[in-house]
Amino acid sequence: MPDARGLRVVGHSVDKLDALALATGGEKFAGDDLPQGTLYARILTSPWAHARILRIDAGAARQMKGVRAVITWEDVPRVAHTTAGQGFPEPSPYDSFTLDNKVRFVGDRVAAVAADSPAIARAACEAIEVEYEQLAPIFDPRDSMKEGAPVIHDEPEARMIVPAAYDKSHNMAAQVTANVGDVEAGLAGADVVVEREFEVHRAQHCHIEPHVALAYVDGRGRLVIRTSTQVPFHVRRIVAERLQWPIGKVRVIKPRIGGGFGGKQEVLVEDIPAVLAIRTGKPVLLEYTRAEEFVSARTRHPQILKVRAGAKKDGSLTAYDLDILMDTGAYGSHALTVVCNSGSKTLPLYRWQNIRFRGTSVYTNLPVGGAYRGYGATQAYFPLEVLMDELAEKVGMDALEIRRRNHIRSGEGSPIFQALGEGSEGVAQTIGSCGLAECIELGAEAIDWKEMRGKAALQNGPIRRGVGMCCLMQGSSIPRVDMGAAYLKMGEDGTFNLLMGATDLGTGSDTVLAQVAAEVLGIPVSMMTVYSSDTDLTPFDVGAYASSTTYLSGEAVAKAARQAREMVLEVASEILGCPVEEIELADAHAVARDGRKVHFAQIGRHALYVKNQRQVQGAASHITRKSPPPFSAQFAEVEVDTETGQVRVLKYVAAVDCGTAINPKLAEGQIEGAVLNGISYALAEEYIFDPRGRMLNNNLNYYKIFGAADLPDIRTILVPTWEPTGPFGAKSVSEIGINGPIPAIANAIYDAVGIRLLKTPFTPESVLRALGRL
């Protein structure tokens, strides 16, 4: 098997290209450097969870000094759409409107204002009079499909545009099923069976940069939107659709992005400033406050997961039955695909002989779910990996051993790959690379598994320690759906511009993809100038989601670079007077067999000015036929205070196979960030609502995310493998890390104090209750 040794750029931790400019404050984000005369937009949001707007009077607001425009549902085209930033046709129901005469959660849009200052915009929102007819709300997803439940989407336009189950009259936003073999027979034939009901909670991405978009109409009458997005091309398409504005007259620019984690895979804020900019003829900025981020942006979908699993005494796995009820909130953004991924990203990990999967997404009158790193897998790894521990215990096997015996291996397939895609059938695939066995061994060694596991009984005092682990897989892109494209051109100094739609939202993908191009071309990364992304200037890319950028866009970049390489060789052959077959590219030189060499600068100049003048370039796009999973084994050592219920993670080890880590330091950074987000989610983060569905803790003072002072000892182990279909053997790395903390910590708590927690987050109070001490 090939490996990354011997590569000069790939596999090296080159400095992130934009890091220095970011660290010295020189980079610009969407809310920086506003044009002269920019107006400030603000959205009036609903105080009620479910209500019809009977009357809305913006007269007083419109008369206020400094108010430039006020819009209500009466002022905008009524176009049903989804805010999910997915490819067309989107597998999310078309159930949203720019503004509507019905509100479906506390925080839903009611009206919008553009004013000379944020303070005036705020005051104008307060001056809008709205008369509501309150409707009965639904706050528990278990109630959503009951007979006689209020219908949240009673508007005629709401529909699913792809062939998928959708029943709005019963508040069902999506449903998906998959069957392999006969689960009942599998359970009947099992020696041990475990049956449980788990609950995974709502959470927010908390990217430090809130959603922000600036819109203006340029001198030629084109609508320009500079926005903090992961999906510039989807923003262009979807905003044009919503505004009924020609798509060719929309330009979307993605500058530096202050984190996204899926929260910015949502076409969430762009339409309002766009409408207001068209109305006022002035630039309009809409920037969410932190409170709006919590309530009006998107969240991780909560799920209730009923599971049954069976195993034979020898540890072989007979059946897994997973039935998920997912709360998509008031709108069905990603309602189908997230629950699909709960199955497709978890069920292939082990060789279950029989599988039954059903995922049902229902509407409630609570904040809206959306894409969030891990995307359904985060929720479903909780039951899977806790049950693996329980089965192991029941058959008297070590937790590592049952996983070793059953996990999928290189060369194997899973019927699930074909059965479950993203809202439609999936694509059959066999596993190319799988380093999971090594991840388990290296991780176990790093956490000192043999010494630490099962030792709580030997401990004294109120504070007990334990270790737990879990195995994980994710995917890399959505096969046959996602497309990425890149364009490369050489300048007269021999350096290259790489233009691509792939959307660096802070992950470092600009750097990683530049490394891929530089490796192909035989130049250092310092000779690459990267620009991403601008719908006028860069080729298409679906955007940064589904763990696709390195694997998918990376291959597009590699293809484009190979084309450019061919042209470099042709020009070099003219200069050196020898056939291209006799020329190698290395260290920014073309080197002939006899040792003569010519620098790329000379090649660039020659191509543009000297002879047979032409642009040395490459342009390519790529779709994938596979979604090769990265794998991971993760281990947590925890301390449980049996008197207060406080759980502290002392040490966390994440061993990850992401194929070739194109930039190891950035890959580690992805894992560390995802792991800490996952730990913070497992232990501290949660939404607290009042009885009317209003979020009580809509700020970072009460919705706590881990800071540096809460950081446990996190160790990352990269386990190199080679994925034959990825650029230089690479797979994805960005999402997988967040899926581990919930099950690994749950299993470690069991090891420490013998309680099985079935509901997240593991708050001190829930631990104490489970211990029977409260």
Partner: protein
């Protein structure tokens, strides 16, 4: 309105502000967009600046209260041409992902290293406790601060970013 004079990244700057205007808004109005707004409530730290050498959350500082003060932002700490060793260490360590928290984070590091030149990990964690980062998990940020401390103590070669 209140007249205020600030020494902003070494330059005397006079401005007129509302009596309850916040320093973050003033700085951004003055073009200092390296000072970021992440929460507006003093909790995330992305608006951190050094005011008279001390780390503060500029979104909850009244500009008028900073009158006569010296303010240092990330752009004043160092530039791409001439970065401060802390900034270079952040680049080298892989401590910059989206970079939205980074301008505040490097200033938090500076405030620490000015007082504690050789901090241990616990001291670094405490010094960064008011600057949230959602991308990195802080691991490489702590590496960067340690490495910057070594550089500033002359125990390391200055990294070239």
């Amino acid at each position: 309105m209140v007249n205020v004079t600030l020494t902003l990244n070494g330059e005397k700057t006079a401005c007129t502000v509302l009596p309850d205007e916040k320093l973050l808004d003033t700085l951004r109005r003055l073009g200092r967009t390296d000072v970021k707004k992440g929460c507006g409530e003093g909790t995330c730290g992305s608006c951190s600046v050094l005011l008279n050498g001390r780390l503060v959350a500029s979104c909850i500082v009244f500009t008028a209260a900073a009158d006569g003060g010296e303010i240092l932002t990330a752009a004043g700490l160092g530039t791409a041409d001439n970065p401060h060793p802390i900034q270079s260490s952040f680049v080298k360590a892989g401590a910059v992902q989206c970079g939205f928290c980074t301008p505040g984070m490097v200033l938090a590091a500076k405030a620490l290293l000015d007082v504690v030149p050789e901090p241990d990990v616990q001291q670094i964690k405490l010094a960064l406790d008011g600057n949230l980062c959602r991308c990195t998990g802080y691991v490489k940020i702590i590496d960067a601060v340690q490495s910057a401390a070594r550089t500033l103590a002359g125990k390391d070669e200055v990294p070239h970013a």
